[in-house]
């Protein structure tokens, strides 16, 4: 088998190095050796009624071998799943009668991968399908009240539905569009009467964002048309919707907008066009990562289809009492605690006083838009003294809501000023402020990569192999090492975290599946603890997943946060990757070639893309190196910066199989694969340099031979001779390698400037030093210097180029100055550079060739 490296320093890979898992001969490969995560573009219908059995069709890519429909909560039962072809899957699902209403997180697992996250909506009303053509009121589709219509808005499409209403009756309509998490779909809803007059319209609102909701009371009996379109007359096949039509209420906010876990609360529901109403609700014990529950209040037996968010928190809550428009009237609240209030009218301002000790830090979080309120909250913290000097402020940190950290400057208390950014007010402009002391905390998350995919946000581990996931550890008031504790990983899978060290933004976690681990998906949990004896619980996973992107610039419109990580065991990978443990260090400003060996399963002959998924601080590597089809070993170059921390790190490399020649004929899609097969971790030592050299600046003319002086600025301690070479020389400039022993203080590189060398300053000339250690070479790159190449002067040139032509040219001012300088120098330095005698003449092969006929303008001169 051929070996191939990225540089001239070939490596001797230990062919006998062991591997944890099975030999390749045991790998059972499916018909296509490549694996690609399936994708889901559409789910039709996007939702169903409680207590129904429905067939749904999922369209996407790489769906050939769909094996599992994974509802993360497990509430919806999957009866069967069938791949129709690579782009379609059909499944029959059962929704229990008491199934939670709302969005259910859903993925598809195939034999080779796990899809991105989508959602499926469970509703309470009978669902019917849209029937085209229904673009005009005259062709509107007949529907009944208390129905949900499942439809799609294609390009410039308008969907009309007609319903018969009695005089003085009420009609409400709510659209699930962008909230179905399939497409950037901004819908617009109207209700028109039989004469075409628009009785009500809605586009955006504070509760549902881009999804419209509307409710009116009609005066006369008759047919009324509900008209739905994309707000800018756009639309496409992905703009699916569920339109709920009925007599249900559509409040937008609750008062109070919060409650304790499990508490029964009497809520007033505000914002419904028919007026507010009150109900009692028993709140859930928990409400997800964000602590916000979705409540669907009932009125007259009809339940709202637009859930109202309510904050679930154990914090003691104080209710605003007006007047509190000036600091002296500020409402008092103890902390940690919460405060709820309302911008009653235009230009209203609320002041709030919190008792706190000097020097403590508090996080003050505002909930407004997140609770459905139209408010655009602005927070400002002020000193509680006569001057009311501002301490800090916040606007729009979490959407329109705000969040600030207040370091209490005075003993006793501080003030918080709350207002709407646009000075608006009204009954629905409610808000909740929470203040809690900032405590050490670490949130773990896989960073979202490319802007419009969920790539690598899940873990798929091939049977009998290993993969890696890279996490960010977002530390608050904590900067030390942490360790992770994993649970609920699928059977046969072992999660091993490499150390998450202080000073590093995150770390890598290896997932290893045994060869007999059953194919399946698990929702893994993880907690973050201090790596020290205290074993303090610091946090866990807080994984954000973007669901919908749109203009401008593929901005995120919909996202969800989860505390569990999907880990799927998939069929074996066609490759395994081995990383040889380094026996020499990577020195600062140095380079090291990681020795990587790829083993391909029988039948797989494709190329492999190699990556360095997690980089220790100060260490970099090429973004992705492709190993050609016929190569199995490679030196994968990594580099260290001049200030890389000197310490040991655990590292891995990851490899992705690419298309084999046979697969290329089947189309581009088959060549895609986003599998990361990881190597076993090895220890990499980042060390101080073994020697340091300083290259002097130099200059010479075209066609000359010259020397470049190099001084040892930090003596080395090594045995044998190091090899030194000038790098970065321009074309037509040649130098020779020079040997260097530990006791040498200076060396000279002979340089020949070719007749065609480019005139000018060449700034990136540096010296590469290879120091022998443990039978290998430790590669150092020394700081760069400059070589200036000048055009030859008239009459003095040794160049072989047509100097005669140039001799007749008029000299520039610079050339004249240089000529004068050269003349004076030639008088002063007619002797040869005697300093070079400091260099021992033994085993300096390069120096023996150093010509004594070096030109009078030496590197020493230019260094001066």
């Amino acid at each position: 088998m051929r070996k191939w490296t990225l540089n001239n320093h070939s490596s001797a890979f230990n062919q006998k190095s062991g591997f944890l898992f099975l030999s390749l001969s045991l790998l059972l490969l499916s018909s296509s050796p490549l694996r690609a995560d399936p994708t889901i573009d559409r789910i039709i219908p996007p939702g169903a009624k409680q207590g129904s059995d429905v067939e749904i069709e999922l369209t996407g890519k790489f769906l050939e071998s769909a094996e599992e429909l994974v509802f993360e909560e497990g509430l919806i039962q999957v009866q069967h799943i069938d791949s129709v072809d690579g782009s379609r899957v059909k499944a029959r699902i059962s929704i229990p009668p008491d199934c939670r209403l709302g969005a259910h997180r859903l993925r598809v697992r195939t034999a080779r991968g796990l899809s991105e996250l989508r959602t499926f909506r469970v509703g309470a009303t009978q669902q019917v399908s849209e029937i085209e053509p229904n673009n005009e009121p005259s062709k509107a589709q007949n529907i009944e009240l208390e129905q949900t219509i499942s439809g799609v808005i294609t390009g410039e499409d308008v969907d009309c539905f007609v319903v018969h209403l009695l005089a003085s009756s009420r009609i409400a309509a709510v659209v699930d569009g962008i909230r179905l998490d399939q497409e950037m779909f901004d819908s617009h809803l109207e209700i028109i009467d039989s004469r075409g007059f628009v009785l009500g319209a809605n586009d955006d609102n504070s509760l549902l964002g881009q999804d419209p909701m509307l409710s009116i009371v009609v005066k006369e009996e008759g047919d009324y048309t509900i008209r739905l379109r994309e707000s800018a007359y756009g639309g496409n096949n992905g703009c699916v919707y569920l339109l709920h039509v009925g007599t249900f209420p559509i409040p937008i906010v609750a008062w109070p907008p919060c409650g304790m876990p499990g508490e029964e609360v009497k809520f007033e529901w505000l914002g419904d066009p028919a007026g507010s109403f009150q109900t009692r609700v028993i709140l859930p014990e928990s409400a997800g990562v964000e602590g916000i529950a979705e409540i669907r209040p009932e009125r007259d037996g009809k339940r709202s289809t637009a859930p109202v968010p309510v904050r679930i928190s154990s914090l003691a809550t104080v209710v605003e009492s007006e007047p509190n428009d000036v600091p002296d009237q500020a409402s008092h609240s103890s902390i940690p605690g919460a405060f709820i209030g309302r911008m009653d009218s235009k230009n209203d301002v609320d002041w709030l006083r919190f008792s706190a000790s000097k020097g403590t830090t508090w996080r003050v979080t505002a909930y407004g838009r997140r609770l459905g309120s139209p408010i655009d909250l602005v927070l400002n913290a002020h000193r509680d003294d006569k001057k009311r000097e501002k301490i800090t402020g916040s606007d729009d940190t979490d959407g329109p809501d705000s969040d600030m950290r207040v370091l209490v400057p005075d003993e006793g208390s501080f003030l918080v000023r709350i207002n709407d950014h646009q000075r608006r007010g009204g009954p629905e402009f409610i808000y909740r402020i929470e203040a809690q002391q900032v405590v050490p905390h670490v949130d773990l998350a896989i960073p979202e990569g490319r802007s419009n995919t969920q790539e690598r946000l899940v873990v798929t581990v091939p049977q009998g192999n290993r993969t890696v996931a890279v996490f960010n550890a977002n530390r608050t008031e904590y900067s030390d090492d942490v360790r992770l504790e994993w649970s609920d990983v699928p059977q046969g899978v072992l999660a091993t975290s490499l150390p998450f060290l202080a000073g590093s933004p995150g770390g890598a976690v290896l997932f290893e599946a045994s060869a007999d681990a059953p194919l399946g998906t698990g929702m893994a949990r993880v907690v973050v603890r201090s790596a020290h004896e205290t074993n303090e619980l610091l946090g866990g996973l807080r994984q954000s997943t973007s669901l919908v992107y749109g203009n401008p610039n593929q901005t995120q419109y919909r996202a969800t946060i989860s505390d569990r990580l999907p880990v799927a065991v998939v069929s074996p990978s066609p490759i395994t990757v081995h990383l040889k443990a380094p026996i020499i260090p990577l020195v600062r400003r140095g380079r090291f070639d990681l020795q990587v060996r790829i083993e391909r399963a029988e039948g797989f002959k494709g190329a492999v893309k190699l990556e360095f998924p997690w980089k220790p601080t100060g260490v970099s590597a090429l973004a992705g190196v492709e190993i050609p089809e016929d190569i199995s070993e490679i030196g994968y170059t990594i580099n260290a910066t001049a200030d890389a921390p000197v310490r040991d790190w655990q590292i891995v490399v990851a490899a992705t199989p690419k298309g084999a020649p046979a697969d290329k004929k089947k189309g581009k899609a088959l060549q895609q694969s986003d599998l990361w097969v990881a190597s076993q971790p090895v220890t990499l030592r980042v060390a101080e340099t073994l020697i340091e050299l300083t290259l002097e600046k130099s200059s010479a003319e075209v066609g000359q031979e010259t020397t470049i002086l190099c001084k040892v600025s930090k003596p080395g301690s090594f045995e044998g001779n190091a090899k030194c070479k000038l790098m970065g020389l321009p074309v037509h400039v040649d130098s020779q390698e020079v040997a260097l022993s530990a006791d040498v203080k200076e060396l000279i590189f002979p340089v020949v400037i070719g007749a065609d060398a480019a005139v000018g300053k060449h700034d990136n000339i540096f010296c590469q030093v290879l120091v022998p250690l443990n039978g290998e070479w430790v590669i150092h790159s020394m700081p760069a210097s400059q070589l200036r190449i000048d055009r030859p002067l008239s009459g003095q040139s040794q160049a072989t180029t047509s100097s005669d032509d140039k001799g007749s040219q008029k000299l520039s001012r610079r050339e004249k100055l240089r000529a004068a300088q050269a003349q004076s120098l030639s008088k002063a330095t007619t002797k040869t550079p005697e300093d070079s005698t400091a260099v021992p003449e033994d085993d300096t092969g390069g120096l023996k060739n150093n010509p004594n006929t070096a030109p009078p303008v030496s590197t020493k001169d230019s260094a001066k």
């Binding site: 410039e156 586009d203 707000s231 800018a232 007359y233 401008p552 610039n553």
Partner: protein, 813 residues
């Protein structure tokens, strides 16, 4: 003795100045004479004043009789008159009596400070020399980097900087205090040494004398606050002159903030906007040439003023037959036409009117039924009834929404205004126009708009242009009809706007705050309460100031509120006239001020009384532009034939006949669709929508682009191209716009299936396209072609094609 001292000749009491001007020995009878200025006030020893005497003939023509008048002072001991100038002798007051051809006029003369000799002022005396000498123009030392090592501010916008450069650069060389004449400043100007700009004035001239005296006094800077120039009067205010070499002298008087005035006739720059009718010499003598109208401008310091001149043939015999049934608009138009000795064309026939009004009012051509109905109607007021009917249609609203969408630049813009934002903005405008909301209310609502760009769509106006200076330029151009861009870098050379005015106006906009809303496509526009505009000279904050008006108090308020209030105030001299002019331009094809958003001193209205009247009508009607539209369309001026007569065939600016106008892009496409029975398809609109309904200026369509639809990137009215071009003709001839639509529409096929005969089909095609039947020749010729063709359908389609390609179709006439 310096040249200026020579002006102070004394001891000549009253003279009759008889040199030259003997051309009108055969004096006609004159009605009266007028003397300008109406008084003479001399405030210090070197003060002086010239006058101009105008004699009026009964037919309105005027004659400059200054040199042939007799003048006498009731107290000759206080002033003297020499070379056309009055200069002081002693303090006192008296009357000056001017007599010509039996007519007499008196003006008061007041002398005060006859012995006072204030020092030369750099700003008041020296700076005008540079302007008069042409030294600080853009092609000379006023260039951004100066010329030949010497820089002056362009048209003198920075006197302090000019003083610095003259007195501190090259000391002893540019000016030499020991040798006032020897410095380069004087020597170059008088041609004493080689000068790229040549000799600007003689060493003996008053201009040179001012420079020399200033240098000899030590080249001082102005110590105290120099009285600010507040006005410039140019006399006579207007004149109707004979053609071919008649001369008219001008007198320019500058007024200052301290109440003093000064004769600056010799210090002004003069220009004419129509040299073929009247030229003006550098010293302010107008010489007439061909028949026409000219506008003579004079600029002194920062102020440019002008006077209108009418030049008519000397021996023209003209009698204006008074028209019956004139509206107030027609009266104002006729008044001007009378002055110009132009007869208006007659009123057009019913078919022409029907087509013209339908295209202008609703952007369509009349249907066959509409034509039949209109022609059959024998009532006298049927045109008024038609106008009212058309104005109630939704298409009328759409036309004006489109026009306002151009003014408000409604379009999507990368990452600033999303297509949804543009549509919401358009819908907002549509609702306002449809509800006939008063224009002042609509503009006020727009200019003070705050909130989300989806929630409150007029806020998009401030998203589409986020640069404070450009925004203020847009507002001035869109709502006041003025292009103030020049004044960003220097005082406007042909208008009254200075850099102070420019930055004062821009200071209404720097406090507009913007932030992203919850929807990434939406922005929130708000009053941030902080932010200032800095004057590039001195880098000081500039207080908000209305253009040509006061500095309002704006503390603690959204500055835009006071601006919006001022712009839409009935007292604002610009807004109502500008909107009225825009409306007028739509129907008459040319603005009273042309281009309609380029009102400036040097581009005066062709009929200022008419413009004033229209503006007043608009504001008096409660800013209901429909009233104005109704008045315009009911006027005979709008309804005149495009066939011209001998006296008006050259007139394109005074509305004596209808101008033939190319139909604008959107309307033309709609008309083509309508006559061919085909439907348009635009992004974001259902099939069959009209091109005038397109909300987003960024919508692309080859036809519309070729025919000059505005992309709304620019506020300029010139963004809508109404010019015919070769590519338009080629597109109609060869493109799919006509040929394919004729085929797709299947009109000919239908008529053939209905078994109609060729003459009927041809007749219908003529009526569809031109709103008229073919005349006998047209019908005979066309029939001959059709009946000799092998393929009847093909031949009839060719006829249809030819009609659509004819100028009569593409133009509104």
């Amino acid at each position: 003795m310096h040249g200026w001292r020579q002006l102070f000749l004394q001891g000549i009491p009253v003279i009759a100045w008889l040199a030259g001007f003997t051309a009108y020995a055969e004096e006609q009878a004159f009605e009266r004479i007028e003397v300008f200025p109406s008084q003479i006030q001399l405030d210090f020893m070197r003060d002086q004043q010239s006058i101009v005497v105008i004699a009026h003939r009964p037919d309105g023509r005027t004659l400059d009789v200054t040199e042939t008048s007799t003048m006498s002072l009731t107290n000759p001991a206080i002033a003297t008159f020499h070379n056309g100038m009055f200069t002081p002798i002693a303090d006192g007051s008296c009357m000056l009596t001017i007599t010509y051809a039996g007519h007499c006029a008196d003006i008061p003369v007041t002398i005060s400070g006859a012995t006072l000799e204030p020092p030369i002022s750099f700003r008041t005396d020296v700076m005008p020399v540079f302007a008069r000498g042409g030294c600080n123009t853009g092609s000379c030392h006023g260039a951004a980097r100066g010329k030949d090592g010497f820089r002056l501010s362009l048209f003198g916008f920075d006197p302090a900087g000019d003083y610095q450069r003259i007195t501190r650069e090259f000391p002893g060389r540019r000016i030499d205090l020991g040798d006032p004449i020897g410095g380069l400043l004087v020597q170059k100007a008088v041609g004493g040494v080689p000068h790229t700009g040549g000799k600007r004035f003689a060493l003996e001239s008053a201009l040179a004398a001012t420079l020399v005296r200033w240098i000899s006094e030590g080249a001082p800077d102005d110590s105290a606050v120099v009285p600010q120039l507040v006005g410039l009067d140019l006399y006579p205010p207007e004149a109707i002159l004979d053609d071919s070499g008649t001369r008219q002298r001008l007198v320019a008087v500058a007024r200052f903030a301290d109440g003093t005035d000064r004769d600056v006739t010799d210090l002004c720059w003069y220009g004419s906007n129509n040299d073929s009718s009247a030229k003006v010499s550098p010293n302010g003598i107008v010489t007439t040439n061909n028949r026409g109208e000219a506008f003579i401008m004079a600029r002194y310091q920062t102020i440019t003023v002008g006077m209108p001149l009418v030049i008519i043939p000397k021996d023209l015999s003209f009698s204006f037959s008074e028209a019956i049934g004139n509206t107030w608009i027609d009266d104002l138009v006729d008044t001007k036409l009378k002055k110009l000795r132009i007869h208006p064309s007659s009123v057009c026939d019913d078919e022409t009117f029907l087509r013209r009004a339908t295209i202008d009012l609703v952007g369509m051509v009349p249907t066959l039924e509409q034509r039949d109905q209109f022609l059959a109607d024998a009532s006298e007021n049927k045109r008024s009834v038609l106008i009212d009917e058309l104005m109630t249609s939704k298409e009328f609203v759409e036309i004006w929404v489109m026009k306002w969408a151009e003014i408000l630049q409604i379009r999507s813009s990368n990452n600033q205004v999303s297509p949804k934002g543009a549509i919401l903005y358009h819908q907002w405008l549509d609702r306002r126009i449809a509800a006939n909301e008063p224009l002042d209310t609509m503009v006020r609502e727009l200019l003070v708009a705050s909130g989300g760009t989806f929630e409150n769509p007029p806020t998009n106006y401030f998203q589409l242009e986020r640069n404070t200076l450009k925004l203020s330029e847009n507002v001035a151009q869109a709502f006041l009809g003025m292009r103030i861009q020049c004044a960003q870098c220097h005082n406007h050379p042909f208008d009254r706007w200075t850099m102070d005015d420019y930055y004062g106006f821009a200071a209404f906009f720097p406090q507009i705050g913007r932030k992203r809303a919850a929807d990434p496509r939406e922005s929130i526009v708000f009053d941030s309460g902080s932010g200032e505009v800095k004057h590039p000279i001195g880098n000081a904050n500039v207080a908000p100031k209305f253009l040509g008006a006061e500095t309002p108090k704006v503390s603690d308020r959204d500055r835009r509120e006071s601006l919006a209030k001022w712009i839409t105030s009935p007292d604002n001299p610009f807004f109502s006239k500008h909107i009225a002019n825009l409306t007028w331009t739509h129907f008459l094809g040319r603005g009273i001020v042309h281009e309609p958003d380029d009102a400036r001193v040097s581009n005066p209205p062709s009929n200022d009384l008419l413009l004033e009247g229209l503006g007043k009508r608009l504001s008096d009607s409660g800013w209901d532009f429909r009233t104005l539209v109704r008045d315009i369309c009911n006027s005979k001026t709008y309804q005149r034939s495009s066939v011209s007569n001998e006296s008006n065939h050259l007139d394109t600016t005074h509305f004596s006949h209808a101008l033939i106008r190319r139909v604008r892009a959107e309307v033309l496409l709609d008309v083509v669709s309508s006559v061919t029975q085909t439907k348009n398809k635009f992004p974001g609109l259902p099939l069959g929508a009209h091109a005038v309904q397109v909300a987003d200026g960024k919508t692309t369509n080859y036809f519309l682009t070729t025919f000059g639809r505005a992309t709304r990137d620019d506020v300029c009215s010139c963004a809508v191209s109404m010019e015919p071009s070769l590519s338009q003709a080629l597109h109609l001839l060869n493109g799919d716009a006509v040929h394919d639509r004729i085929t797709q529409g299947k009109l000919i096929e239908q008529r053939m299936q209905e078994e109609q005969n060729n003459p009927d089909i041809i007749k219908e095609l003529f009526i569809r396209c031109f709103c008229r039947s073919p005349d006998e020749n047209e019908l005979t010729d066309t029939l001959a072609i059709v009946e000799s063709a092998p393929d009847r359908r093909q031949a009839l389609e060719d006829v249809f094609w030819a009609l659509i390609n004819s100028p009569e179709f593409i133009f509104n006439h």
